[in-house]
Amino acid sequence: MNYFPDEVIEHVFDFVTSHKDRNSISLVCKSWFKIERYSRQNVFIGNCYSISPERLLRRFPCFKSLTLKGKPHFADFNLVPHGWGGFVQPWIEALARSRVGLEELRLKRMVVTDEGLELLSRSFVNFKSLVLVSCEGFSTDGLASIASNCRHLRDLDLQENEIDDHRGQWLSCFPETCTSVVTLNFACLEGETNLVALERLVARSPNLRSLKLNRAVPLDALARLMACAPQIVDLGVGSYEDEQDSESCLKLQAAIRKCTSLRSLSGFLEAAPHCLSAFHPVCHNLTSLNLSYAAEIHGSHLIKLIEHCKKLQRLWILDSIGDKGLEVVASTCKELQELRVFPTDLHGGGNTAVTEDGLVAISAGCPKLHSILYFCQQMTNAALITVARNCPNFIRFRLCILEPHKPDHVTSQPLDEGFGAIVQACKNLKRLSVSGLLTDQVFLYIGMFATQLEMLSIAFAGDTDKGMLYVLNGCKKMRKLEIRDSPFGDAALLADVNKYETMRSLWMSSCEVTLGGCKRLARKAPWLNVEIINENDNNRMEENGYEGRQKVDKLYLYRTVVGTRVDAPPFVWIL
């Protein structure tokens, strides 16, 4: 390969798009490192504190797309206090100062501000794509800047963000000359929407493929929008209520019939179940259906809808579907690859909506299933063993039994054997979440069999440090380990400090690790940031000379090449 000119090698590299592969390429030799550096288009940074924007720019001066992730995963469940970090501002400022031709920015669990969005919109002439997932800190004013200033905007995709809705006119900020929009997702906005501006934008966007509306878009507006955009592939229905008349429903039916490219359906944030039948004509082409926010759709309306969806590959649903409903899914959706069943009642009200039977039915009926997230009230080892036998192809297996420490409800045994069967059968398992009553034994199985495992979530499980040690010693590909309310302590934490260099991060909350243990770890591993998050004490731990034996409430550690971060709030103590 060294006999080829650089341009040829670069051309070959263009076909290599996965981050892992490109990272591997850059390690081959100096010449390849250099070529790869200058030709890298997409940069992925899984932890924004592992590196600085300046170093990023030094290494990759020519990238066009940046993905950044901020807070740890458990922040989704309110375990990370407000103000912890994950600020995107320094990144945007550094990129704006440089000459990088940024076209795409994807952020997850980061804090974004209106000022940042304004700066972003003004600094990059070719900026095309903004994807924000689970972010916070900004308002519709920031969206107005993006709409006004990004002349070639293609994607504005807002997923599950906390956005301060000033009920402004951000939609009317898109200039009349803007005809390039391909993705427009504002489902998470709570306020009202300028329907006229929206309809005009949709009407002048011939390339629009994905449109996800918020609650404030009623049924008749939906019908008009779909009539303007029959080419739509991915639709998020907003308020699907039909208070007025069935004429809206008829108009909607007519518009839907023309949408022959529709493949993905979501939303139904408010829902008039009787109007669902308007979608039946397009169901046979649907590959993705997300009804996980549609609490009002259940029973026969839901079943009828699903019976039409024979090509479904992805289904997100609430547990009100019940085991019977899951049996319908199992017999209808033979192409199903990903299933998520979310809980309707978060307080475990005793309504056994879905049980192990539903899970078994799905595993038996859907041979292509590889990803599952399943919230349920009860589980048995026998069911899990059956599931493992039926579906050895799981890549992601996340089971959440709503009640902590709950055993096999038939035998009263821990669920070690069940999860053991899963990890033994599923040789490609990359992500696993365990729940229910579990001893150290399950971790022995995980360490032994889950050789490809990259992410593991543990809650209320295990007996001794041995559990955590089995995992740390066995899972060579582990990248993210997150543990809560489990009896693992310093011995496990400190056994193999170098292991953490091979991982992105470790989270431990309400475990048995002590301040002394964390301090020892920080001393042994200066290339780690060891963060103690203690919102109750507000960092008085240090001043009050807390004993080394003091238990640490929340520990978050991650590898980094740029040392201690400077933006940590008072309640975060970086050792």
Binding site: C188, V217, S292, G348, G350, C400, P404, P414
Partner: protein, 194 residues
């Protein structure tokens, strides 16, 4: 000096909050705590404790469960949207739907967050960005809009007549109508003291 019975109560060890009635709640909480303590791997001997019976009790003690932060692991965005749905099915508490003539979308308002008709008037004004709705509630005849509500029996009534407490208990939804349209609407007649 306290009576013997009361003294006995004070010295008795309890798991519940002081002043609460005893036996049932205590038993349920004990069930949950025992569950935690015997959960570490042991099965045979303690299987009696960890049997179906105790499991039922656990389902009945929401106090013990809901204290766990961030559990179940449902992201906060989803929790918020989930809660709203739960609220709208309750009559008189929490959110009711509000429609306004001429406005193509429905809003929801939390009746529980208003103290009286004045509060509600203010909230409705803010909700639709239109002044004058509030005036309708207070000062019946002088303005463009009337605010009516559908009560538990399905009848449409003029808002503002009955005491606030009674109103929020029976109001299922609200509608803001133009006064001109209201005359033929078939509102239930007002009270005698009109």
């Amino acid at each position: 000096m306290e009576k013997g019975g009361v003294e006995h109560e004070i010295t008795e060890l309890r798991l519940g909050l002081p002043g609460r009635d005893v036996t049932e709640k205590m038993m349920k909480k004990r069930g949950f705590t025992e569950m935690i303590m015997t959960s570490s791997g042991s099965n045979s001997d303690e299987s009696g404790v960890v049997s179906g019976g105790d499991v039922e009790k656990i389902n009945e003690s929401p106090a013990a469960k809901s204290e766990v932060v961030g559990w179940p692991p449902v992201c906060s965005y989803r929790r918020k949207n989930n809660c709203k749905e739960a609220w709208t099915t309750k009559v008189g508490l929490g959110y009711v739907k509000v429609s306004m003539d001429g406005v193509p979308y429905l809003r929801k308002i939390d009746l529980g967050s208003s103290q009286d008709y004045d509060d509600l008037a203010f909230a409705l004004d803010k909700l639709f960005g239109v002044r004058g709705i509030g005036v309708a509630l207070k000062d019946g005849d002088n303005c463009e809009y009337v605010t009516i509500y559908e009560d538990k029996d399905g009848d449409w009534m003029l808002a503002g007549d009955v005491p606030w407490g009674m109103f929020i208990e029976s109001c299922k939804r609200l509608r803001i109508m133009k006064r001109s349209d209201a005359t033929g609407f078939g509102l239930q007649p007002r009270g005698v003291d009109e």
